[in-house]
């Protein structure tokens, strides 16, 4: 009763996948240096 709020989950990676057309979520966790070159 002291704190009220909203709770919801947002798949940040999944939204990025939709926005940038990335097909495999694991690419976000591998740290392959080439991954970022697509966004420069």
């Amino acid at each position: 009763e002291r704190y009220q709020g909203f709770a919801f989950g947002m798949g940040v990676e999944r939204i990025a996948m939709l926005k940038y057309g990335i097909g495999d979520i694991r690419l976000f966790y591998e740290n392959d240096a080439r991954f970022l070159s697509h966004f420069s």
Binding site: Y29, E30, N31, D32, A33, R34, L36
Partner: protein, 805 residues
């Protein structure tokens, strides 16, 4: 859950049309995912009777039937084989339209005239059945519209219920909701039984050996029944909700299950040993054949219904082959019981057996309402199958509990929903659901919860009910009011941001790794058995063994990433990570969390190009990155010392960063064996720093000192000293001179020489020393005096001598 609106109308008046009602129910949390109309488009189809069935003269697989529609006889060619003379069927005569656009015409089929079609379920749009034509109940009079006979048209809702609404798994349950939502009156079935004969107490007995798992078991007996098909209206209702009709007694139990939501079971009384019931757990390994013909192996956690000899049913899930109602059954024992939901769920999973009954028991049934269900079923069986109901109910109810009470504060309801609701309005809403107000103080009301609402446990559950009935769409939309404060990023965040910016500017790429690592990394890093880094926070239910502990160093993630990049030939390895490590603390529940920055470097210093020289990174590149970063933090008093105890570093090729005697981090070349274990290119350089401590030591720039106005004098010195003296010491020694030699401004190493012109154990350091005064231009004598002071100090401290002397 399929709900037939025609059936629903028995219990509540539906004032809205189907779509409106579907919308209303959906908004109240009972999502209507599909609305099906049955029996539309078949108005022209009539009932008829097959007077004669004979073979088609010209085709083996067809038959020729003479069908009476009450007015005339039609000759129909038919390909189905499931009908016989005397059967009542659904006839579409010439000129009738069927769903799907088919119009019946006079036809000649293999030389024989056919004027009409006997329809299957599918042709009538009533279902998928097309193995044969629809056979109507034998007492159906010919010549009537078939929709009348079938109780059509009907609308069927497919309702997707949330798991907490077990009370809606029945027509009456949904009727309750409709009544609460629309204000219409609810008409519950009121069984009106005619009992006769001996009291039930003399005819059977029920013993519950496990009252935890079976909190109530009620039974009735109906004697002298005649097993046969159920009447048309009952079969049709069962079909509308997706249940197969079998025989009148079993159909009644299924009907009451669908109507009231309480699962019942009918036993053949004569097949029960001792004509009595014992409710007990099975024994481990006991075998039992359920009425689907499958033999099951039971365990001691499964509750069984037994007779005087042994098991006759798996409680709450499925009856047994040895006790089920058959065509010759005359006396029926009806069971209406309450079983522990968790146990039924467990047993259902263990046996891989899920039924309409187990589905409801798992979610919680109405422990009081089971009596009404029992009476209703007994009444229907007596009515439809004949027979007399024995007097009384055997009701084994070992531990009745008082109904649940929940207290609700109207002020809180309004606060949570954001709508002002009066106490009376709230009470009205809850009363519409069957709750009753039993106590009242100024600020709160206590309600008694009806036993069919197993999901209402706390005040917030009641608030949710008020919201549902009031309508979520009736709650006005407002923006939340939040007190604004000027925030700022906490210091730890700012330091992490700074680290990222500086390292990216140094040409590294940020890597992000999970904080969970594989305990086996300790071996790959060759940590000593007593190494403090081995003490880790262990995760209680890890996803897998590779994410089972919390990291105490950023190394494993960075080295794995380096290995992956190396295998994929992505180029030079230049990765850093800013992240937390977790260190258990004795006597404390929570670990100490330290924010660190780590990096791995290998490969070319610069990308391939025509102007840059192709040099690979070395230790000093890594050290330079560290020093560049640390400089931006303004931490005073940092120094480097030789590393002694980092087993993953190449011996002799590493250093620790020290502040005030404490180690803040380290930097060095990865040991070749570790490099092999992680499949990283060699040489690979790594560092890791304690960001929290660095940030603590950082200071903001001090007061501006003004720019130097007088020229400086730079003198280069070459000093020879023993190999093995750290350069830092030499530079520190020079810096120490500042006290006596205020003209000293800086000393920078710019060359190192070792070789032929020196003794084997000596090395020559070339240092540029800068002298400057704030007040005047220096004279040659002053500079020489200062330089002599420096040299003397170096000689005294380190035995360093000017080269050439």
């Amino acid at each position: 859950m399929r709900i037939s609106l025609n059936w629903l109308r028995d219990y509540v008046d539906l004032r809205a049309d189907a779509d409106e009602l579907a919308h209303r129910l959906t908004m109240a949390g009972l999502e209507v995912s599909a609305v099906e109309t049955l029996g539309v488009g078949i108005e022209g189809v009539v009932t008829a009777r097959i007077v004669e069935k004979g073979p088609h003269p010209g085709a083996d697989r067809l038959s020729l039937c003479r069908v009476d529609d009450g007015t005339e006889i039609h000759e129909i060619v038919c390909g189905a084989t499931n009908m016989q003379a005397g059967d009542a069927v659904a006839l579409a005569r010439v000129g009738t339209r069927l769903p799907g656009g088919l119009k019946i015409k006079k036809a000649k089929i293999r030389g024989q005239a056919s004027s009409g079609m006997m329809c299957s379920e599918r042709e009538l749009g009533l279902g998928d059945g097309h193995d044969g034509i629809l056979i109507l109940p034998p007492d159906t009079a010919p010549g009537r519209p078939v929709v009348e006979v079938l109780g059509l048209p009907d609308t069927v809702f497919e309702v997707d219920l949330t798991p907490n609404r077990a009370d809606c798994l029945s027509v009456v349950g949904v009727a309750r909701e409709v009544a609460a939502l629309t204000g219409a009156a609810l008409r519950l079935p009121q069984p009106n039984l005619a009992e006769s004969g001996e009291p039930i107490a003399g005819q059977t007995s029920v013993t519950i050996e496990d009252p935890e798992l079976c909190r109530r078991y009620a039974a009735r007996i109906v004697r002298g029944v005649r097993i046969g098909p159920s009447p048309r209206w009952l079969q049709q209702r069962l079909q509308a909700v997706g249940v197969r009709a079998l025989n009148n007694v079993v159909d009644v139990t299924n009907y009451v299950l669908m109507e009231l939501g309480h699962p019942l079971h009918a036993f053949d009384l004569q097949r029960l040993g001792g004509q009595r019931i014992v409710v007990r757990r099975a024994r481990d390994g006991e075998l039992f054949t359920t009425l689907d013909g499958q033999e099951r192996c039971l365990d001691a956690d499964t509750l069984m219904i037994c007779d005087g000899d042994g098991p006759v049913a798996v409680a709450g899930i499925m009856g047994g082959l040895n006790s089920e109602v058959e065509d010759t059954t005359r006396d029926v024992l009806l069971e209406s019981a309450y079983f522990d939901p968790a146990n039924i769920r467990r047993s259902s999973k263990a046996l891989g057996l899920s039924t309409e009954a187990s589905y409801r028991f798992e979610r919680g049934t109405d422990i009081e309402g089971l009596i009404r269900a029992l009476d209703r079923a007994a009444e229907l069986i007596a009515e439809l199958a004949g027979g007399t109901v024995a007097a009384g109910i055997w009701d084994a109810f070992p531990g009745p509990r008082a109904r649940r009470r929940v207290t609700c504060r109207p002020a809180r309801v309004s606060a949570v929903l954001g709508v002002e609701l009066s106490r009376d309005a709230i009470v009205n809403y809850l009363q519409a659901l069957g709750l009753s107000a039993v106590a009242e103080t100024g600020s709160e009301t206590t309600f008694e919860v009806p036993p069919h609402r197993v999901d209402l446990e706390r005040e917030i559950d009641l608030i949710e009910e008020v919201a549902r009935l009031h309508g979520y769409d009736a709650i006005p939309t407002t923006l939340p009011k939040v007190a604004m404060t000027a925030g700022e990023r906490p210091a730890a965040r700012r330091t992490a941001d700074r680290a990222r910016d500086v390292l990216v500017a140094a040409g590294l790429t940020e890597a992000i790794n999970l904080s969970f690592i594989d305990p086996a990394e300790d071996e790959r890093l060759a940590l000593g058995a007593d190494d403090a880094l081995r003490r880790k926070v262990v995760i209680q239910n890890p996803l897998n063994s590779e994410t089972a502990v919390l990291r105490t160093t950023l190394l494993p993630g960075l080295l794995r990433a380096a290995g992956l990049n190396n295998r994929r030939q992505t180029g030079a390895v230049r990765l850093f990570e800013v992240g937390r490590t977790f260190h258990p603390v004795d006597g404390q529940e929570l670990p100490r969390e330290v924010q660190r920055v780590g990096a791995v470097l290998a490969g070319e210093q610069c990308p391939l190009g025509w102007l840059a020289s192709a040099q690979t990174v070395d230790f000093f590149d890594a050290k330079g990155v560290v020093e560049g970063f640390v400089a931006t933090l303004g931490v005073d008093g940092l120094g480097w010392e030789t590393v002694t105890d980092r087993p993953w570093l190449h011996p002799g090729r590493g250093a620790v960063l020290v502040l005030g005697g404490e180690e803040l981090g380290w930097c060095g070349q990865l040991h070749p064996d570790r490099a092999e274990a992680y499949q990283v290119p060699e040489p690979l350089f790594v560092f890791e720093l304690d960001l929290d401590r660095l940030q603590q030591g950082s200071r903001k720039p001090g007061a501006f000192l003004g720019l130097d106005r007088y020229p400086a004098v730079a003198r280069d010195l070459a000093v020879v000293l023993d190999r093995g003296v750290p350069v830092q010491q030499v530079l520190d020694a020079v810096a120490d001179c500042r006290g006596r030699e205020p003209l000293l401004r800086s000393a920078t190493l710019f060359d190192i020489y070792e070789g032929e012109r020196l003794a084997a154990d000596k090395v020559s350091l070339a240092i540029r020393v800068v002298y400057r005064s704030e007040e005047r231009t220096l004279t040659e004598e002053e500079v020489q005096r200062a330089e002599a002071g420096v040299l003397t100090h170096l000689e005294q401290q380190l035995g360093a001598r000017l080269r050439g002397r």
